[in-house]
Symmetry: C3
Subunit: 264 residues, 3 copies
């Protein structure tokens, strides 16, 4: 399927319950890609938005108790309405509050996909790893196993973002080799990718969630690579802006041509 073409044609409405750091960037990124963002954490409208939207993206970056309640209502309503739900467990290893919240979300909502950095997904897999706040951190892990484990435990697709991306549905593990080291220097670059995953899932009508996630992560990585062709590795401000421009012109053929994807 030509996901990007479908997104531009269907213009799916993506409901984001997200953090105040990245709300603007995520909205602009979705618009650039061709989707429509709506950002809301008001419990009063969570059920109505689930009837209106084609995907829900839950991001715990600046969570608070009231917002978590909204996440639970929205997630259950999305499940009831059969729309895909993406979880971005931002900084889940940083504090017990984040770990407990993510557990509660996983216990109550059936996610279609979980996308995070190495530190976040390692936390979900109970792997020993030195995560650092909301950053990926460092350590050694067998990412094939980690991705599979978390996917199987939660019955959904899992994507680990980094120099190499790992995407698994619990059976297969796909690796994407288009990493751009500048991504972690842009706040919200991971959060925007989670929103982009939501848009790809929104137009995936045959439950090929693994394929949708692989395409989403490949498209995003290819967009980053193409931006880096024109700027230096320290231009983080420029990168953030030009990534939006790049998402607006990216097409499925380009992703197909430049993506370096290994199906293991």
């Amino acid at each position: 399927m030509n996901y990007i073409a479908e997104i531009r044609q269907q213009n799916p409405l993506i409901h984001n319950i997200t953090n105040m750091v990245v709300a603007n960037y995520s909205a602009n990124g979705l618009l650039a890609l061709g989707a429509s963002p709506i950002m809301s954490s008001a419990p009063e409208e969570m059920e109505h938005l689930a009837q209106l939207c084609q995907a829900l993206v839950i991001n715990i970056g600046t969570l608070n108790v009231a917002q978590v309640e909204a996440m639970l209502i929205a997630g259950k309503a999305a499940n009831k309405n059969g729309i895909p739900v993406v979880l971005d467990p931002v900084g889940v290893g940083a504090t017990p509050f984040r770990r407990q919240t993510v557990q509660r979300l996983l216990d109550n909502i059936q996610f279609s996909a979980i996308r995070g950095n190495a530190g976040e997904i390692a936390t979900l897999a109970n792997v020993d790893w030195q995560a650092k706040g909301v950053d990926a951190g460092e350590g050694k892990a067998d990412w094939h196993t980690v991705a599979k484990t978390v996917a199987n435990a939660n019955g959904c697709v899992v994507s680990i973002s980094g120099e190499v991306d790992y995407v698994s549905d619990g059976k297969q593990v796909v690796t994407i080799h288009n990493g751009t080291p500048i991504f972690p220097k842009i706040t919200g670059s991971g959060c925007l990718l989670s929103a982009v995953c939501g848009a790809f899932l929104a137009v995936e009508k045959t439950s090929q969630n693994l394929t949708a996630l692989v395409r989403a992560c490949t498209a995003y990585a290819v967009a980053g690579e193409r931006v880096m062709q024109g700027i230096s590795s320290t231009q983080t401000g420029q990168f953030a802006i030009q990534l939006l421009d790049q998402l607006a012109i990216l097409d499925d053929e380009t992703v197909e041509q430049y993506g370096r994807v290994n199906y293991v």
Copy 2:
């Protein structure tokens, strides 16, 4: 009146009760134009800010119950202090919570102006229209009548933003033909225009609110047109940045020269 020159000279303080998606962009846009922004939703300081500021802009983009209470306090205080109040009914048609909130605001606050996209103003006019979340949506409507109806129902100026802008005080309808299709691709571009309307109203001392709104919307549209002369229609990231640069150099003469305004 030379509104932009007056704004640069008076540097009016604009109180924005706004959403987390656009707060940064609205603040930077007001600063570029020559006004001073203050963003606050704390009920404790709403009355004090009404004594300090020259205009209030209420935006329901990421509303919650606590913020709505602040809006009501601030709006009433602004009315008592005689400063103009602008309403941006972001995505009002999307959910009952938004519709009820806007009704409550309209019942309790006398607005000087309401600015929204086609979908939002159509909702206020009870016109059949397919709005899409916070986006304009599509359909057919007689915008002259819609603008007049909403203006008369609320005793204020109404501005509908789009390819053609419609501005009405309930008697006259003015159209502005400087539309730039990239605007809806930038999150908060409408929200910033509402804030700009607040700045124009802040320096309008003779209650010529229709004129102030027409000039504000024309200035903003002309700024957009001028940015588009230097970039391509897909450069949404660049557009957002250069629109700020353009607002910082725009002057009344340029708006006068390039504005295509029809008084019907």
Copy 3:
């Protein structure tokens, strides 16, 4: 000490309790410099973050009652854990709510540094000054005395940002003469500087807080000067982006070479 090199090597985690207007820009600025940001205002995780982070930055820009409670918990925990705490009293003179909140913070937390614009620090010194919302405002004041007074009253370093920066520990007053007039036109440029001060303090292990603040403010001002060499004084959008790029390449030698610092 080579502060910037140390920040890039240690990559300190900086906890920001900040406002929704500047959260994104502060996070991107800290990342560009080489530090790691985490933004959180959830009372449930304030104590855990104090054990994880190397500095805390408290910013009252869009304060609310719940966030103030989080600030108090976080500040006390930071004091207990011996990590530096920076206060940015955004718009403190604007309303009684802000003044009372800052007083409460100062009564309960031992700050390492307070950084603000002229209007904000004048308010803390009870000096007659026409501040304007969250902007610096105008008037006449003896900034040497103001800086010393506020530093002595609170037992910490104080930095007043403006055309000339004043930094004092209550005994000495240091002035920095690298001011760039465009800074106040960028929302959150002061807030980012406060976060940068947090990063410099995080790597200062011998309690030379005056030196750390002087270096932080000089580095930031030099970065601004260097950006201005390539753009015009009205390009506020470009300035904001290029300041990030500049922070990413700035080094201690450049700051040493171009800083114009007077130790009085």
